[in-house]
Symmetry: C2
Subunit: 394 residues, 2 copies
Amino acid sequence: MTIGPIDWKVTASDGEARSGILRTRRSVIETPVFMPVGTQGAVKGIRFEWLEDELDARIILGNTYHLFLRPGVETIRRLGGLHKFTSWNRSFLTDSGGFQVFSLTDLRKLTEDGVEFRSHLDGSKQFLSPEVSMDIQAALGSEIVMVFDECPPGDAGFDATRTSLEMTARWAARSRARFDELQKTGAEMGHLAADGLSGDQALFGIVQGAGHLDLRRQSLDRTVEIGFDGYAIGGLSVGEEKSVMYEVLDFIAPKMPADAPRYLMGVGTPEDLLEAVNCGVDMFDCVIPTRNGRTGSAFTSRGKLNIRNAKFAADDGPLDTDCPCSVCRRYSLGYLRHLYQAGEMNASIMISHHNVAFFLDTMKRAREAIASSTFQTFRKGFLEKLKENDADGV
Amino acid sequence: MTIGPIDWKVTASDGEARSGILRTRRSVIETPVFMPVGTQGAVKGIRFEWLEDELDARIILGNTYHLFLRPGVETIRRLGGLHKFTSWNRSFLTDSGGFQVFSLTDLRKLTEDGVEFRSHLDGSKQFLSPEVSMDIQAALGSEIVMVFDECPPGDAGFDATRTSLEMTARWAARSRARFDELQKTGAEMGHLAADGLSGDQALFGIVQGAGHLDLRRQSLDRTVEIGFDGYAIGGLSVGEEKSVMYEVLDFIAPKMPADAPRYLMGVGTPEDLLEAVNCGVDMFDCVIPTRNGRTGSAFTSRGKLNIRNAKFAADDGPLDTDCPCSVCRRYSLGYLRHLYQAGEMNASIMISHHNVAFFLDTMKRAREAIASSTFQTFRKGFLEKLKENDADGV
């Protein structure tokens, strides 16, 4: 048996849902796991001390596109890679930059070689390709690197999607080749000796295919053929109907290699996470806990609540009576609403904190339910309870 | 000896400078002390957990004007006063609202009775007077209440200043009367039995008189004649020359009652604090650590630095090599600069945190120097070192 960069083992399963332990060179991660997003090298509004001590996040995301443009790869390299630069010494997963570049519809020019685009910051001409993305992610030194893929729009037709996933497959092979080269030459900034692991980065492939199940199947086969340390599902939650996302998950997730982690990119709400876990997905990331935190929207076990609602003005209860986080243990709805209405950033800080706590706790509860073979009961009860606030007209 | 609401004792002195212990019903405060400002019931960007655990702030400010307008006194009363509302269970000092109202030059109408003004939030007509201010501060339930005073502009002439301080003296007497009534009737929300203390609020008088030393003297005499638990110097750092402020401090502080705490309102820079301590001042508040933190300006033992400076881009050193705070122990200039340039609120959060730590630490070092009779040496060395960054052209 060869020693790999990561090690992932199933510890329990319940239907398609499974729990596991993912070991990277920098942390031990229980799956299913939600990864908070640190786009620019920080989780917005939440200091690393909270993420480590109370929230106990074991892995967070960094965004290649953003970090490439600012502060730039050379600065990060000079400061010793993303871990030293940010001081986050647990695991990082970095995306490839592809998703962001393909969101800049008017600013890009796509060729077989890669994508030319203009920076949203200063309009400067930039170029990303599988090779450039691997180079950047090596300089960042993240534990998990994503291949550079093309992301078609959620409503892409069959032919456009097929053409796109052919490109994605060729780019995946180029990503793999450059990545392997970089690991050999030691150009990677995050290398770390770890018991039973190679100390290198891990590389995940990405399955595309939009809402077309047969194309998803093709994309999966071609990705597995190349071979990766883990497999991601891309191109969901990009504008398509919820039912399409669930259909794709239900179809593709169980067909993904059973012995490698499965990662659903950029998804989603607590409901989405549980539905995907139910299909056998292990890893998630999404900006909504922090983005919604900044706009005063809290995720709770009874559904979302909007802190601006006047009915909370003199409410001395917490955001979520079932939540054990430091915000819910201490601060009242009335106080948080006041801070939000007064434009105090402490409102964003604390609601974001609670939201991340809620997402992490939801995954913890899912893991426990899988371990005790009660996942279906847990899932139904959880989804039912989420509707309570809706019924209250919050 | 009657039991008072607070107890203050000198523990050491060095020239005019003195250190002491101020006991309130909710905390023990070593003086000289810097009080972080929590204008709207929160110190901007810094969660109470940090203020309690690492920074160990024993007293913070709340602003009557802001809290009166939003969330409003009735909401705070319904939620049990400022401590219960915010969850801050150490001491609060509340200002009277006067300073803010008198900053609204175009929005106010002044009579003997009080001040009519328009809310900066919604233009609604509002009224503050000595009685209303005492009523609000009783509802807030702060440990230290400030009298409602008139604040003339820093460049007010002799006659205008004299007229103003006569009003301030009459208002101080009215504040005292209403305050005493409120303590008797138990209308106050913060009452708390405490060993050797009355459990009531304390009331501080305010000395005005702008830059006119004889008027300062008159104002002091009239304030002491009424009698308060502590005495504040108002109307400094409001646009006058630094030299005028230092002259007033040098003249008036040593004449203030020796057995009560002396509080310099709304001041100032680290230099200002040390100069005032040197004149015998014990308490300070100022928004600059957090306001400057939000604009990327850090106070350090070598002077101010601007995090936007390009020379910090790849600097792996801390904001201040001499600072033991959690930000300086962990985060580099390069990282903080990146966060600031990227518009991440974590930059504001962490630079504000460091700045407050620096102010609190400076006061701690002043106390230690006074205790060991080395205050002059400390002060000179401290002020000298502050010039280093200036010399570097930072």
